[in-house]
């Protein structure tokens, strides 16, 4: 999983974190076990992606709750990015 610069302090400075799972949701659950402070920057306590958090799986954007079922395989790159918004 590729971590945006703004959140790398929650990952010990790492740009990438190895996570496991069969779906995007699984991967985020695994992240919650490994790096809980980082995971809750991405999802709220209901497990929903925060409104301005984007997740790309091999370049395809995942956004809706149902998309958390998107499958991932060995070697899949999951990229987290902030939406361009705010002021």
């Amino acid at each position: 999983m590729v971590i945006p610069a703004a959140l790398r302090s929650c990952a010990g400075g790492a740009r990438e974190v190895a996570v496991e799972g069969n779906t995007v949701g699984d991967v985020l659950d695994d992240l919650a076990r490994r790096l809980p402070v980082l995971e809750r920057r991405l999802r709220d306590e209901r497990g929903m992606l925060r409104p301005h958090v984007l997740v790309f799986v091999d370049g395809v954007m995942v956004r809706a709750a149902a998309d958390l079922d998107t499958p991932v395989r060995d070697g899949t790159e999951v990229v987290v990015a902030p939406a361009v918004s705010g002021g």
Binding site: E45, R46, R50, P82
Partner: protein, 370 residues
């Protein structure tokens, strides 16, 4: 670690729209303003828990895209930490998610380890481990009035938590725009406490509802806990019976609109407000940057402006952006949306600029660290 462990200092935490600023002083005249922390993040709630040694500092931080967080510091602000488990989170099944931390309030000295947090959406959380982990106060969350509580201009915030100096079962909260609620059983049951408080935005024959008032801040003097002061959205009030009833004390003020209200830490009759023209005109009356002080629990008021900017002033002081430090003599502080923080060590008679050119100030808290 502190450089001078035997020298007392006063610490002022300043939460702004774009970060946290800490100021320190040994004499409350010369101030060291530390570099901004939590850059670009809004800091709506700060607190200093001086019941602990070393004191624990708190910052409720909004990180924008990445959600809210509660950080604490046990080294007087040098470093900030966040527990592995989210300190404040709505429980599964509540259907809610934390949107903003509006208030972090250590309980009275007789309840060591107890810290309350008021949040958005309207909810109260309690910690019994010094603020590392909090639990939702279910009695308020499940209150039958909840569905009728509307968000104020700032959101559906529980912005004020008052605890009693000797009765740990007594709690009071204030919410925009639900009004004031009280509990006599440590938060199991809650009753509205708004009798006598007007909701000026309602139709004329409905202006004294049981709840739904837009309260902006409530203050109590710990030495006289039955007496409470409230600054409302149009209206300044006092209660002498612990919130059973309220009476207006706004005669003598240039406006009854404003956000903060602060009681002097050693003089229960001395109260401070920062009036603004109106909700649609959030600037001081006659554009004078003036604090108003009552020395008789609201019977009369006098403007204080010595040392404050003489130029036309257009900025407001928000609900948590005025405080005292509990010192002797007391220090009184306030910060404005123009990014200035002013301090007085003579009860408000004269003021000096503690910090200028900050981002707009959301909250100020201060304490003398022995």
């Amino acid at each position: 670690m502190r450089d001078h462990p035997h020298m007392s200092e006063t610490i002022v935490l300043i939460g702004t729209r774009k970060g946290l600023v800490t100021a320190r002083s040994a004499d409350r005249r010369a101030w060291t303003v530390e570099p901004l922390q939590f850059a670009n993040k809004d800091v709506y709630a700060v607190a200093l828990d001086t019941r602990r040694d070393p004191p624990r500092l708190f910052a409720g931080v909004g990180t924008g895209h990445w959600g809210p967080l509660l950080a604490h510091s046990d080294d007087l602000g040098a470093t900030w930490n966040e527990p592995e488990l989210a300190p404040i989170a709505f429980p599964e099944g509540s259907g809610a998610a934390l949107a903003r931390i509006w208030q972090v309030q250590p309980a009275a000295a007789g309840q060591p380890g107890v810290v309350y947090a008021g949040v958005e959406p309207h909810a109260l959380f309690r910690s019994e481990d010094g603020g590392l982990s909090f639990a939702l106060v279910e009695g308020l969350w499940n209150h039958p009035h909840r569905s009728e509580w509307l968000p104020g201009g700032g959101g559906a915030c529980l912005h004020t938590v008052l605890t009693h100096p000797s009765d740990p079962d007594w709690l009071m909260v204030a919410m925009s725009t639900a009004g004031v609620y009280r509990s006599a059983d440590r938060g199991v049951t809650w009753q509205p406490a708004n009798r006598g408080i007007q909701a000026t935005y309602l139709p004329e024959d409905q202006r004294f509802p049981e709840y739904g008032q837009c309260v902006h801040k409530v203050a109590m003097h710990p030495g006289r806990p039955d007496r409470l002061f409230a600054q409302n959205h149009f209206g300044v009030y006092r209660s002498d019976d612990g919130g059973d009833s309220w009476a207006t004390i706004e005669s003598g003020l240039p406006s009854n609109f404003g956000f903060p209200i602060v009681v002097h830490p050693h003089r229960p009759d001395w109260v401070y407000v920062f009036p603004l023209l109106a909700d649609e005109e959030r600037m001081p009356p006659t554009l004078r940057c003036r604090v108003y002080r009552s020395e008789d629990a609201g019977a009369g008021w006098r403007p204080l402006e010595a040392g404050l900017p003489p130029d036309p002033y257009h900025a407001a002081v928000l609900r948590d952006a005025m405080c005292s430090d509990g010192g002797e003599p007391a220090g009184i502080y306030f910060g404005t949306r123009a990014g200035e923080v002013f301090a007085s060590v003579d009860d408000g008679d004269t003021w000096t600029a503690l910090a200028t050119h900050l981002p707009d100030v959301l909250t100020v808290r201060a304490a003398l660290i022995p």
